[in-house]
Symmetry: C2
Subunit: 321 residues, 2 copies
Amino acid sequence: MGMKNNRKLTAVDILAASRLMRDLEDRIPGALERLKDLYTKTGRAYVIGVTGAPGSGKSTLVDRMIDVFRKEGKTVGVVAVDPSSAFSGGAILGDRIRMQRHATDEGVFIRSLATRGCLGGLCRSAQDIINVMDAMGKEIVIVETVGVGQNEIDVVHMAHTSVVVLVPGMGDEMQAIKAGIVEIGDIFVINKCEREGAEKVEGDLRSALGMAGRLNDGWEPPIVRTEATSGKGVPELVTEVYRHKAVLEQGHGLAEKLKEQMKITFLKVLESMVMEHFLNKIQEEGLWDSMLSDLVQRRVDPYTLAERLISEELAGKRPEA
Amino acid sequence: MGMKNNRKLTAVDILAASRLMRDLEDRIPGALERLKDLYTKTGRAYVIGVTGAPGSGKSTLVDRMIDVFRKEGKTVGVVAVDPSSAFSGGAILGDRIRMQRHATDEGVFIRSLATRGCLGGLCRSAQDIINVMDAMGKEIVIVETVGVGQNEIDVVHMAHTSVVVLVPGMGDEMQAIKAGIVEIGDIFVINKCEREGAEKVEGDLRSALGMAGRLNDGWEPPIVRTEATSGKGVPELVTEVYRHKAVLEQGHGLAEKLKEQMKITFLKVLESMVMEHFLNKIQEEGLWDSMLSDLVQRRVDPYTLAERLISEELAGKRPEA
């Protein structure tokens, strides 16, 4: 088991790292112990979140960012979070296939991750994978995710710099802007900037940032225009990432951010472990059938039932006053 | 306190119901006990989920659906889930304002809900509100949400019939279709169907449904064209909802669905209560500061720390083998 030797993994044991990631996702016994062993080696990667609507060209953009980082000699890990797969069961790679051209580059490690519904799964899995890539010595870890809402929020909680990707001509820019993205981006990208309407998106975005008070905030989020298919604007984007990193490191922003993110990570881990414990108890004691029929028939409400289960498990403590 | 008298609430105590919903969201002590009292009165509302990308016109569509249900004399509750507000702290109503014209109609109850990040908050809050509306005697409860990913999944877990809204001309229909929506819709709507490209969206959607095996599945999801601003197609949509309801009730689909949904509801409640317990413990014992500094300095990993906390709390049990 090469995994027991951290130095080996930290160097080039890519296969072992892949296996560990898969084992963590599948909750194979022992995988967690291996991750714990690696944990002291984490905290060195710089984590960049890239998020935006479907069709905004995020994957191509990430692909081009990899090029820029690789040219600088930096190693890169990518976690591509795929929210579609909660139903289909496996990651639908779609246009991520194009990132595969980096597959033969040992300095790049790409991993797709299916999200698993709301019960602690998603957030912890993505963080676990970031931790493994970090321990492997990847200097840059990019987390790419689709969508408005929970997935974006999770990425923000994991990333040092959050990049939000918009495109002109979707006709619904203001909608997207209204929907809270102005508050989560450290850097905004207008991708497919050759399309008509780039000025309008940028103007709308800038006024939305102003209204949200983001323009006098210590860090004024830059807006970068890119054309990911040709690579245009991507070096400028990477420069802005470095500039944001420097600002975070100079002020006390980074320490605060790391602390807040660690808190969220810890709570996710705790949540996932506690729920695993309760699920095991319910399954082992064969409680599902009677519990569910009581609930469906309204013989008991879920709140009372949950309280009962918790007080059985927690030594002499009541869950709610 | 009119709330203690269930019959009063079930009839017309709208103010008390509003107060209960707010108290539940704010976790005011006692609110949960009131919800428990009401719980035996739940399970009668028919819950319809409406989801789609920002700008797809969901709110207008829901508004028109309310009209149709009200003309039939049915009472309606609406839960508008707003994922933007995890950051802004309050629900950004945006175009939901237009639903306000129903505000003077006692048969309609509309409630916006801010989502609260990943720690059990969102899902439980929305379900709590559905339960109150159900107990109030609302015959139809519509849950409206934005986005791709987690929010949609949650709505599917709460709704008897899930409606997915698409629009022509976004240029990214196939992306959206790829992203898993074909698996979550019981009914698909092509809204703004007067726009160019409606045929293309419908064709793309139909072939995606075919590929996903949804066309020979017991229920072939219908595709309804609407123009929500004028109301065109909305009565047909409501007819399809009733047809889906009838199919669910005739087969054993509904019983299975209710059982599965109850399981998820119960797990959310359990998760939220357990985490509340642990958060209280950490705060009361003033553990945050030392825990976070240990974690940030990598003196301990979050997995070991979580296990330690869990085994302190759970009487003589180990959380992981």
